[in-house]
Amino acid sequence: MSPLRRFLRMPEALAGTAILAVLFAMALAAPLIFPGDPQAIAGPALLPPFQDWSLPLGTDRLGRDVLAELFHGARTSLAVGLAAAAAALAVGAIVGTLAGFAGGLVDDVLMRITDAFQTVPSFLLALAFVSAVGPSLGVVVVAIALGAWTGPARVARAEVLSIRERDFVAGARVIGMHPLEIAFREILPNALPPVLALSSVIVAAAILTEAALSFLGLGDPNRVTWGGMIAEGRAVLRTAPFLSIIPGVALVLTVLGVYLAGEGVIETTAVRRSLS
């Protein structure tokens, strides 16, 4: 059975993929369906959902279109989640490969740094970083990656430690290959699968962290975010709970989708690897 067929047979994986597909469609379509500024006033304030079909999910305290905000928020969530996870995986893979391959003092220093980053709770780290540097999309991405690269670094290092003893690495040394080329061209690609297996968890965590930062008002002020929407809705939680519930549900579904689809991919590739 092909990996794709096996993947399609897992209902959880399919559900996760469906959620992600909708999410990506929302993110991509946002500027087409809602071309204007999503933060502009679109109607009367606090219009409940399903009342006016030009504003299907109603409006918030300032009369902004909740559906438009939801679509544009999907863009931010996905962009930040994917960028932060990519940065964390790249940094982690590079640090882990250098530590595992070089060994000795380099390994000690790099792993001590990794320990240091790991002891600080990643959310506090992100909070401190954004507070110090100031909120913008790039800073939020770096702030989240700062607390997320240590896991990939450890996994990459462990994998590199076992790969570097294999004959093909000795073979690369015998033909006179430069150590950096051995580390990054021969070893790293072979160490990558277990590192990439962490990506779904990291993306999901990054999306949550972004939402939490935005909730605390530390997101990019020029962008709509789900975390920011929840924070907005909190003030009118009793009278208009939908303002918090709608972005909250979107967030939960997104994290769930990322996680389920990611697990599906891991499971299918793990089976394939054990078969080969």
């Binding site: 004959d167 093909f168 000795a170 690369a172 015998v174 033909i175 006179g176 290959m177 072979n190």
Partner: protein
Amino acid sequence: MSSPLLSVSGLTKRYRRGGKTIAAVDNVSFHIEPGETLALAGPSGSGKSTIARLVLRLVQPDAGDIQFKGEDFLALGGATLRARRARLQMVFQDPLAAFNPRATVARVLDDPLRIHGIASRSERPRRIAALLERVGLSPDLAPRAIHEISGGQRQRVAIARAIATKPSLIVLDEAVSALDVSVRGQILRLLLDLQREERIAYLFISHDLGVVRAIAHRLVILDAGTIAESGDARTVIDAPQSAIGKALVVAAPKLDRTGP
């Protein structure tokens, strides 16, 4: 008299295992002349692979001296060592483990040509095809992945990679042990042809005295990291003096005493 190609003296390597130190290689000395085959034989754990790794500078010895082409090989490091490696190559026992699992045949042969600046980028495909033909393979194999060719073909690719840089010495650690008997004969013949035509010396590690007798000029028999006896390969195999030498000859399956 010219100096030998490789001369090893007092080579010692100790490993610490569970508190006590064992000498995997203990005060071993030998030399190899240009174009000569020296075999290393001995029971499992006698230190054959460790010697190979020491000679190739894959591990550092605890004591001893290695002269290669009249140069103190142990004193080399960094870029100088990497450059000198062109002259000293290796073929591993398991041809599948010896290559990056993601590599293709072409990439495996491209690496040494690129690293040692032997051929320009545009010239390399032609050189790769020539190398494949040199070891009796079709150049059509070049785009194949390493795991998509047979074990015998893979060992030929390993030999092609080893000769890509025109080495003076190739270390072969059990290079034919994993192969079928028929394939083994072909590979041995290829090695003999290459040696005759290019005057390559071999450090040939094997526990199979039949193979040793067919290919080696001289033989060193190791026991627990030390040299038990050494001499002309056929003389030693036909009349071993040491206890371990006698045991190895007895254990050898239907030793072909007529030679190739």
